[in-house]
Symmetry: C2
Subunit: 352 residues, 2 copies
């Protein structure tokens, strides 16, 4: 394995529903667990005062905050000294060539974060549109990386290929899998199924697989996300967003029903007491907080997005994912995957 890089994280400490009340405790725990990492905490000076004496931490003052309801235009044109914007700006290369930070994490609103990141950082060569990649738990007690999650509607086949390449780089970086498998989300396993765009995307992915640029499994269906049939599931942002929200909605309903059933009668409440350790273990296993931290891929800088409603535990997971991705050189891996005519990890004699 190549040498791991020391990582400096720029944190939008004001973002999300709760701001510093959750970002600061998460950062503190993260620092303790990662003795080589450095933090740049961005936000209002008064709100971040308690972090003044922390090790490997600098406070970068930003006077404004992008709220969860702020329109993209407000974040982009008006609040030029927002914690989100200043944190993202730290990813831009300075005069010496290296940027002040290696990766940025924000729990701020997705639309604003994507727009400001795109404006400040621009996309990497060969990428029209950045994508959002998240992970969902699967039956193999691992997780499946799904992209795009809503940044792009009306995708072309070429966009879906780009998502597949960037997703492969992400999983290779974060999970250390060199050749993660890619599934194309469709409504049947047969290659003749699906819309015209999906059929074309299938052909592009197959060709990319044959050229050694990625490990293409073929078509998968919605249930394969949770089966863990492939490491990565690629889809357009509309479909990915619907799949994610549908899963969240079902999980919320089932969780409510379980609570209702275990409180419905005196016997049920007794049974709940007895079953509590088992139910807790189950809950921990499907705890969505463990999967917090979506990657914005295709930008000239690494950006991770935490759920707006994340608590300190969840925000810390996003920090860890961001840290691991940066440490294992995700930026370079994305670049290599997109440029290389053959697989970046296994150069062949025939490679151009």
């Amino acid at each position: 394995m190549s040498a791991l890089l020391p990582v400096r994280l720029a944190i939008d400490a004001m973002g999300g529903d709760h701001g510093p009340a959750i970002t600061l405790p998460a950062c503190r725990r993260f620092l303790d667990q990662h003795p080589e990492a450095e933090l740049l905490l961005v936000g209002r000076a008064d709100a971040l005062a308690e972090a003044a004496g922390w090790p490997r931490t600098r406070i970068v003052v930003a006077t404004e905050v992008v709220t969860m309801d702020d329109a993209v235009e407000i974040a982009l044109r008006r609040k030029k000294d927002s914690s989100m914007r200043v944190a993202l700006g730290l990813l831009k290369a300075g005069e010496g060539g290296r940027a002040l930070a290696d990766v940025c994490v924000s729990a701020g609103n997705t639309g604003a974060l994507m727009a400001v990141a795109r404006y400040l950082l621009k996309t990497v060569e060969g990428i029209d549109r950045p994508a959002i990649a998240t992970v969902m738990p699967n039956q193999r007690d691992g997780y499946t990386t799904v992209l795009d999650l809503g940044a792009n509607v009306d995708c072309t086949a070429e966009h879906l290929l780009q998502f597949a390449l960037m997703g492969s780089a992400l999983v290779a970086a974060v999970d250390g899998k060199n050749e993660p498998s890619v599934g194309l989300l469709n409504i049947g396993e047969e290659a003749i199924k699906g819309s015209e765009v999906i059929k074309q995307a299938g052909e592009l992915l197959r060709a990319a697989g044959e050229a050694g640029r990625l490990n293409f499994h073929g078509n998968v269906e919605g249930n394969d996300i949770f089966k863990g049939t492939t490491d990565i599931v690629v889809c357009d942002g509309f479909v990915g967003n619907v799949a994610l929200k549908t899963a969240e909605g079902l999980a919320a309903m089932l969780s409510n029903f379980i609570k209702q059933e275990f409180t419905r009668t005196p016997y049920a409440r007794l049974a709940a007491l007895v079953a509590l350790p088992v139910l807790k273990h189950f809950k921990a296993r499907v705890d969505h907080r463990r999967y917090n931290g979506a990657a914005l891929l295709g930008l000239r800088g690494l950006v991770f997005k935490s759920h707006g409603s994340a608590d300190a535990f969840a925000f810390e997971q996003a920090l860890i994912r961001a840290h691991d991705a940066a440490r294992r050189g995700l930026m370079q891996r994305v670049h290599d995957r997109l440029q290389a005519p053959t697989c970046a990890d296994e150069p062949t004699p025939a490679a151009a």
Copy 2:
């Protein structure tokens, strides 16, 4: 309420993974519960022999069976005496004008059923493509009707409007709700969100709502299916299929995890015994068998599709849904919704 019609159901008794082993017990129970209903059981004579003496039942012999793996072409061109095809044929008006059956139910493979139904019955005026509508449970302890579920990919805005109108007719017929609410599945509630087709569909649905043709709620997201925000959720077949399969996959994973947790240790197995009545009640509440029976809408004949893997209880639910839809005049309601410039249930003086 208008007079209910006596209903004659044509049953593809050979369809599905299990054929007569589950369709016959389901039909028998259904007959006992519905003293006015009549059945036409279609299939091989030897396989249906036990139904020979049943009340209000006739056996219609068909010598072939469309298997779950048969290609559409086989069902359409080769097996002309299949139980599926003969059952669907009973919906065609005879010389006297009335068809032998009012509604057909099959657990046979979806592609074949849709193709044969479309070939034999044709679509109703104004409908380009039939849709598949199913129901999913929601937090209100009711269910949400979702269409399309995979019959149509690459839909236009006009198709989505047709789905909304047909879905409204279905819910009005099966659930007795005169003005069921319709949500357009999107990736945000704001009208400006989504793909071009979805934005256009939003405008068409809004206009149809203002004209009194349906009760349009606005955009909904994936989680609203399970919240029960609207009675009906409209989407193209690709998105609907992904949402359905994603939900099925998540439910299967969670169900497996619960089983694993309650058998992991001796204590967990004891807790499972204590919690059994509670878990059973929970399971019954989310039992997908209760929601079996998808409607094929837009054909000149009523067709309901059971899951191929349905057991007798599930197949009986499909029979009940089919029966209720026919009894409350779903065919006429679809016709009225599609033709009427204003709402069919509340004619206004200005109605053309």
